[in-house]
Amino acid sequence: MRILGECCLLVCLVTLGYSVFLTLAADSHRPSWRARLELWSTLLGFGGLSAVLAILAWALAVGDFSFRYVSSYTSQQLEWQYRLAALWVGQAGSLLLWAWLMSACALAVRFFNAAESSLQRTASGLVMFSVWFLVAVMVFAADPMQASLSTPQEGAGLSPLLQHPSMLIHPPVVFMAYALWAVPYALAIATLVDGRIDANWVRMARPWALAAWTLLGVGLLLGAQWAYQELGWGGYWGWDPVENGSLLPWLTGTALIHCLLAWRHSDTLKKTALALAIVTFALCNFATFLTRSGIFSSVHAFSESPIGWMFLAVMGCQVAAAVVLIVRRRTVILARSAFQHVLARETVILMSVFLLCLLAVIVMTGTLCVPLSTMFLGRTIQVGPEFYNSVLPPIGLSLLAAMAAVPLLRWGASPAAAHRRLLAICLLTGGACSLIAFALGMRNRIALVIVSVAIVTVATMIAEFVQNLRRRQRNSQGATAVGILRQGRRKYVAYVVHVGFAMVAIGITGSSLGTQRQEFTLSEGDAITWAGRQVRYDCLVQTELPKMLVAEAVLKVNRGDAPQVELRPARHLHLLQNEWTSEVAIHSTWRGDFYTILHAGLGDGRIVVTLVDNPLVNWIWIGGVVVTIGGFGAVLPTSRGRAAGSKPVANREVELDAAGDGRRSAAA
């Protein structure tokens, strides 16, 4: 099977290379046999990658240790789900998965919309080129089919820290997002080469960008949750280079989605949109460089490998191509509208895009501080979380303020008098809520402002909806609430995403500013009062399982009149790896998490535990789910979108009208 896999990989290298050559070199009048050959070589490449993936998955499932990859990441004792998860745990396997997902995207681009065949054929060819690059890396530097020097009886197993449900879906979701980001990039390059740069590009790129953005957000969220539940330090984000690597394309991707909106509705930010589509995928390659170059210090371990530098070179080529093409086409992609009003919707989007890009630059600077300082100062310097935390509140607050105001702003004009009145009422409501929070004991200024802005975000959304409903009912259009929601689904889904972000902001603020933690040494029967709770330590329970020894501390927690909660923070000794892990126990409510970590048993039943009170942290996860639902809701095509899907948009008015609150209504 391993030899078959090797052969399939080589077939992929050849056929994909041939397919890329045929696709990118083809003209629209090529003979039909060439078109068929081009298609079949692409399909053969995809089939070959599917076969390699299936062979590796089979080898992992049955524990065929003649594959070096299998013996490096699995063992016979590992549960089946983690054996399969090992597919994306190692370097070669993750590259294989990424290549396969990207080749599926290339095929989907090809067949998604036949009306735009030349542009989509070029885009599909460009995505296939990225796949070919990954296959070349696998063939020459990270072979998933590599044989073990001698077939061992037992594999090394998977790190216990990675045996967590989040790890089953976090990496594939991130790789899926990276694969999807290849499509807006390829469409941007293809349209810049082609020279026909219009709203059709937005229509084609939008669903891919939204799906990629949503999935990358899910990936970041799952990664944060894994860190929170598994690493046992009570936090969820450490500004680690790997975390930053995935955050960067998400930030520029967020900016891209807003640029697409501005392009569609006000014919502005076109160059920025095209540049961001390319930069976002380039940053996905940059993230891969961060993981594999070996030049960073991180809680994630790295080692030196030439693979990282290959990805950096590809990223450099992508950015250079973007610069050259955008400069070449600068006259074609000039914005037809100018920014005239400070409080127009496109101006607020411009500001948000600017702030998101600024944040991306700052995160990248902080991440690259180590190599840059070594290169330019001759000393290696690292910056800590304070560097990022110093800029996050002002940028985050400005973005939240923009999100809060946007439902009551119009495209191409300042807000109407009625909208200004509503905005003032919403601001007063936010201010009043802030005062109530102050009266209830909240004293932190940033927290008070965040509460206020979050309330304004919800209030403006409701105000806009109610005003829209009343206006239509007044005009005897027989509008119902459901009808308005259905008609303006994209718009309201975007507002739902904004509400999700307001919830995430509340969660981040609460858990950053209000966290308390303390270590205790407790004897059996000890009771302490801490963070408004009474905690009693009952006993230490030790259990012997086939694969591990488990020591659990039984803690009884009481808070006010709430029912008693039993928490069992534990330590596991994994016998195969001879490695201890801490398994935290968390009691979650909407008010916050009570997080307990068992560090050691001292004998005589005494234990060392850390108790952490993390206020509002659940708001992050719930807000993240709201954002995800909104994101997927936005990907679904509207009925008008489906109708227009097969033909190019000829009239911008159609696009504006579809938004439900476009310039036409503003002018009216």
């Binding site: 998977l158 790997v242 490998s305 910056v383 110093s390 490695e579």
Partner: protein
């Protein structure tokens, strides 16, 4: 002033303000990141200063307190070693013969640490390290 210039001026002002905040944050949090050999060579000039030192835990040198609140070990570099004492919760995966980064301050030729970062949470293997089977995988 044209709208374009106004937006440019506004953007430049915001970028400068955020840049200033970033610099202030960097000034509060920056640390030298040193190898063991660099830390040994510059121990006198860096005494009392917060640093991060990376190296490999020497076999046979690791002692962890029963309450896991302190640890002592030697860190090896290419040519030199550095004694480290840590007063912090010791990570579960701190073992001998692994790469770690210790954050702390240098005093009398030793490092007094208050944070140990182990490098085993996730890992892509190095081809250069062929022969050493690695037990952990990447978080992606």
């Amino acid at each position: 002033m044209s709208p374009g210039l106004k937006f440019l001026a506004g953007g430049a002002f915001v970028a400068l303000a955020i840049g200033y905040l970033a610099l202030r944050g960097a000034a509060e949090s920056w640390q030298y990141y040193l190898s063991v050999d660099e830390a040994r060579a510059e121990a006198a000039s860096l005494e009392g200063r917060r640093v991060r030192v990376s190296g490999r835990v020497v076999r046979g040198s690791l002692e962890i307190g029963t309450d896991r609140r302190q640890a002592a070990f030697d860190l090896s570099g290419d040519v030199d070693t550095l004694h480290v004492t840590c007063h912090c919760i010791v990570p579960d995966n701190l073992r001998e013969d692994i790469e770690v980064v210790v954050e702390g301050s240098l005093a009398e030729g030793a490092l007094s640490g208050n944070k140990v970062i182990t490098r085993c949470a996730s890992k892509y293997e190095a081809e250069a390290a062929a022969g050493r089977e690695l037990a952990a995988g990447s978080a992606g």
